[in-house]
């Protein structure tokens, strides 16, 4: 069965510090991977998605970047955090197949508080 791991679960970081959040998927190959952010009491905003190793598409210009060094690994980074980067970060995956995508499962999320 497919599973998605996301860590850490919570993180408190000072303004100006770097960030690295990691997401890994098990049980599937060549998945599409996604990073979402959920601000307090708000909806889910798509930040980045990747359809393959090294292929990153950015949806919203901002202080964050993403990388996919391995097929089932997706990393969200920042060189210098801003207060506005606080939120609940969620990784998700889906499987592309014959012009469609299947599944779409979220990880358990990382609660980031920038102080």
């Amino acid at each position: 069965s497919q599973t998605i791991h996301q860590w850490p679960a919570t993180l408190v970081q000072p303004v100006g510090s770097p960030l690295s959040l990691e997401c890994t998927v098990e049980g599937t190959s060549n998945p599409n991977l996604y990073w979402y952010r959920q601000a307090a009491g708000r909806g889910l905003q798509l930040l980045f998605y990747s359809v393959g190793i090294g292929q990153i598409s950015s949806e919203v210009p901002q202080n964050l970047s993403a990388s996919r060094p391995q097929d089932r690994q997706f990393i969200l980074s920042s060189k210098k955090l801003l207060l506005s980067d606080s939120g609940f970060y969620l990784c998700a995956w889906s499987v592309p197949r014959q012009g469609f995508t299947y599944g779409y499962t979220f990880g358990s999320g990382t609660r980031l508080t920038v102080v």
Binding site: Y34, G43, L44, L90, P96, F100, S108, G109, R111
Partner: protein, 113 residues
């Protein structure tokens, strides 16, 4: 530009009542419309989904109604229970291999015992 609009923002229903959440979309490039349920501190979990060639889908107490011409779809929760208290998100998926999902703003449902 908000491509998926969801209402209401919050909803209070008595136990046993019907909860109704509505969504409207603007882009005709969407090919799949899921609903997600999220409990505090957890990631969203798929609840039920529908394709645009179907007008209604029912799974247990949960029903999606879909109106393609009006670009609207709704979630009905029958016999609402306190355990249904959560935040619900509608979403729309772009057709093709990227599978991008665009979410509504969410509805916080409280079911009173």
């Amino acid at each position: 530009q908000q491509q998926v609009k969801q209402s209401p923002q919050s909803l209070i229903v008595q136990k046993g009542g019907i909860s109704i959440i509505n969504c409207a979309y603007e882009n005709t490039a969407f090919d799949y419309f899921p609903w997600y349920q999220q409990f505090p501190g957890k990631g969203p979990a798929l609840l039920i989904a529908i394709r645009p060639d179907v007008s209604e889908k029912k799974e247990g107490r949960f029903t999606i109604s879909f109106n393609k011409s009006a670009k609207q779809f709704s979630l009905h929760i029958m016999d609402s229970q306190p355990g249904d208290s959560a935040t619900y998100f509608c979403a729309a998926r772009y057709a093709g291999n990227t599978g991008k999902l665009i979410f509504g703003q969410g509805t916080t449902l409280q079911v009173k015992p």
